[in-house]
Symmetry: C2
Amino acid sequence: MHQKAAQLGKLALRMTTKAGSGHPSSALSLAHLVSHLMYRQMRFDPRNPWHPTADRLVLSEGHAVPIIYAAYADLGGCVGSDRDDAAQLTPAEVDQLRARDSVLDGHPNPAEGFPFFDAATGSLGQGLSVAAGLALAARLDGSSRRVYVLIGDGEAREGQIWEAADFVVDHGLTNVCAVFNANGEGQAGDVSPQQSAECLAAKLAAFGWEVAEIDGHDPGAIKSAFGLVGKTGRPLAIVARTVKGWGAKDLLTGNWHGKPVPEEKLAEAEALLDQAASADVDGDRLDGPPTPPVAASPKRVDPHSVQWPTFAAALEDAGLGAALEKGKIATRRAYGAALKVAGDLLPQVVALDGDVSNSTFANIFAKAHPERFFECKIAEQNMVSTAAGLSAAGFIPFVNSFAKFISRACDQVEMASISRANLKIVGSHAGISLAADGPSQMGLLDVAFFHAFSSVRGDDRESPLCWFFHPADAVAAYHCTRLMVTLPGMCYMRTHRPDVPLLYEPEMAFEPGGFHVLASGEDLALIAAGYTVLTARAAAAALAKQNIRATVVDAYSLPINAEPLVETLQRAGGRALVVEDNYGGGLGSAVAEIGARTAGLCVETLRCQRIPKSTRSVEEIMDYCGVGAQQIADHATALLARRR
Amino acid sequence: MHQKAAQLGKLALRMTTKAGSGHPSSALSLAHLVSHLMYRQMRFDPRNPWHPTADRLVLSEGHAVPIIYAAYADLGGCVGSDRDDAAQLTPAEVDQLRARDSVLDGHPNPAEGFPFFDAATGSLGQGLSVAAGLALAARLDGSSRRVYVLIGDGEAREGQIWEAADFVVDHGLTNVCAVFNANGEGQAGDVSPQQSAECLAAKLAAFGWEVAEIDGHDPGAIKSAFGLVGKTGRPLAIVARTVKGWGAKDLLTGNWHGKPVPEEKLAEAEALLDQAASADVDGDRLDGPPTPPVAASPKRVDPHSVQWPTFAAALEDAGLGAALEKGKIATRRAYGAALKVAGDLLPQVVALDGDVSNSTFANIFAKAHPERFFECKIAEQNMVSTAAGLSAAGFIPFVNSFAKFISRACDQVEMASISRANLKIVGSHAGISLAADGPSQMGLLDVAFFHAFSSVRGDDRESPLCWFFHPADAVAAYHCTRLMVTLPGMCYMRTHRPDVPLLYEPEMAFEPGGFHVLASGEDLALIAAGYTVLTARAAAAALAKQNIRATVVDAYSLPINAEPLVETLQRAGGRALVVEDNYGGGLGSAVAEIGARTAGLCVETLRCQRIPKSTRSVEEIMDYCGVGAQQIADHATALLARRR
């Protein structure tokens, strides 16, 4: 095994030197563990990284990726965007690490053509959650797939690792094996004693894991530790003491994290590794991995092929018949009914929630499909990355929490976007209409965040990286959920707490990027979304009393279709006031960008003007934040006075 | 103690019933612990919650706040925005819980006039980090202050709790005492066995804490557990088994989380609590807390009173003389030099970093002021909330990491904004100019996020909630750092990896919201910030060859001063092209909002067009993402063709 470790190590050194950047010392610390995993432990076919039941490897400490590239190239692994496009990785390509046209990105990135990985990593501490998602998916698919994950000691400081450790135990995911690479050295200094091998082992035991603590460069110890996988009825953690820069440590002393060996020192480093290889006495040849088990046949149904029930039937079915009769239904509740329907129709729809399913109404889904509902408890980061893992295995995960708490996982959402995960995120209790609970529970920046995603094009250069939906009533929430199921890639929906009247006929059409004109007037347009559509309508009524005729636009999706919006605004005197119950950078910015590039349009925005606080009614908080109906009407009047 | 617990419990029940919302059952589970803490354990003066060395209480599970309000009102505690404005809380005000004009917000919120608290809580899992910040501050101030923190069992699932647990041990903060309220019931269901009292105790022990596991309604057990504070040389965790809805549990059965007792059942609930009180046999009268220790005198210097060295002197002093001579210095490096100067001049400046101080260059500060530098390791959420705690104690914390990793703590940043924390956040390696490391390390959404904050007004209704700085060269980075030190409230600065030439004379003036015109031309304006200023200048040079005269604007701060910008754009033919190396919702949106409300201006934006990947050079990645110099020039030419 020393020979294989040294061979891969030399390749990792060379490719980072050629690239002029990279993390060879971290890579070397994993040389033996990766040799064992990829040549003996994992059941997979390097020629078919898309195999549906082969074991998977998540490299949580993404910066160590050169050692994986080395092994994969040595094994003749295939790269490419899909099976039709597959090609064996060549040694020449390995030298192209980090180059513009290379599939070998600086950190693991399946979307650039390296399908051995399931998720982009590199922002630390997320891999165990991704592994948990893959493991859940394997269980749902009836597959005996095992999921291995390599975690750095330094990154084990990230709380998300411990959220994932809890989740794996809660859900009995004994098909996960976590390997901690305890090399003791971080970037700016030594790893804390809190992340020493002993301390990690003690923590993992306290979290309920089976723990094996070993020398990560001892072939025998590695073999026997991995022999425990699937044997103990508990998830297995291997805490491996390793050496950063193994084999060439004397050369890579000091501040080496993230630095390649200079070209002129490469030969010396390679010679050191050759010397390390000569310690190989076990005669254990590492040729290639065992073959994967026979494929299960995961159940997937084409989302376009199914027939959705009518809005009324879906709400009746979800026990919301009485609410429907009253005609006042919160968007979050209608979403819950729609999510349940999605689960009825498509076996690959799954839902995750963080102890608030009775508020997000994901509990309607949970009741109908308990085996596809995953209670993540109060740990949103793990929830999002777990969903990314489920997506990588072909499921359509709906992630549920308050919009405010989704922001706990902004980084994880972005990493999922790099993985091109088919993630559907639904943030409830958004905006200030939450009133009494105060600002610590209100989503005020979610629109800016997801609008930013919606502003970038996806790989097809046509659709956005993320579709944003913001329904104003239950009908809209129902149909937008349906759109989210059908659209490929990331979608975000924003729902609100209060019950609101029905605005639309049950079979109203909704489309990505669409908007609806609720009233037409030629003086100006009031543009709103979600709860503020109600406020904007009230403002329009107040304006009508002053003989000002306002168009009212429900802008329920971003990026909004620019051309029809421009036509609508031109018919409304070329003047628009956008109203938002959140901070800036959202709908107001989106419409302003269209207005600013179109001659003759004037766009202003009235948004949440200050940090909210608790109030007892929705009207009070809208007024407190400067977006009450009368304030909108006053602002519109002033705008007209200036721009007529 | 049962009597006091019941008395406070009744008050908590009544105020939530009056408010029509709130979490009385969580509040009741804390009745005894809060009685002991606020009447016997904590050394504080209810009449002076601003006392600089009094013990502090952080309520991490913010939704349980009614029990604190009850005790504080019973003790005649003072509320208000400062000592001049102080007034004793009256029983009538308690009934105003969650009302628009009440200081008693739905969740702890010092900024609304409840100075007993140091930080807004309610988004869960953040309190232990805030407590750590307060404890660090006490140590720096030479104060014997102790910091108590109440943590829910459900929220102990948040990874941040475990980041903080590590941090407290790493820094030997034995002046922190964490109390876990293990009532076993969450919102949507039971708390996981992973957060049971036993499991929490085992985890805390593995994390290196002294642990006492007790019955949280047993007065004797409570007394003896708290007797261990400061006695064992390790931070103390008390894991208390409690009963959700204590004293009235039979009434509050089922799905009670977040629901008040209906008005008609209040008498019954109160009667149950009276019955619970009658179990009081210890005869232990709880009258009021011990007085706080004699005040230390924290060292603070008025940031406006100090004289900064010249740019050249500061860089020389930081060992950057050679770089200065070469004339190429990364903005992150100049920031490091400036941060060190801030530390030289002001004893209240502190810095935190997450194992990347040799990349953010916070290590220049660390070397000069080791006692005021806090290595947080790879745990960004804890870092931000710890900084919020330091800020609450009067320090000026600079938080350092890659811009990408700051996004790990978006929710914590927002909570700090609700606390009105004086937080200075610096995100390095922002944008796509990081090139080789790929998208997992690039800050692409930070501009949208902090622009959203900058779009809202602070409490003075004049300045924004957050000032945003984005320097294009080392001189700008130096002076923007100085501005951040002087400006009250949250500031964000975005720095880049590459070395860049000096654009400015050393004593160039910079101001919040300012911008600089680097070149004047009447055909159109190119507006850029940070690294893209260089690209925009190259594009202007390319345009000059086509006889197109471009104005080049360095928009180094948001919210940008609108009037002078409009004048500048009008002089540039009324046409502007904004260039960004990140996703949407940022500078382009900010300028578009100004353009859209001003007649005769046309604004377009060219921003990062797709998810980046690794490339070996900055030029390649700018081109790959569609924002290379030639692409900017081409876009400008097309814009002119359309709009001339």
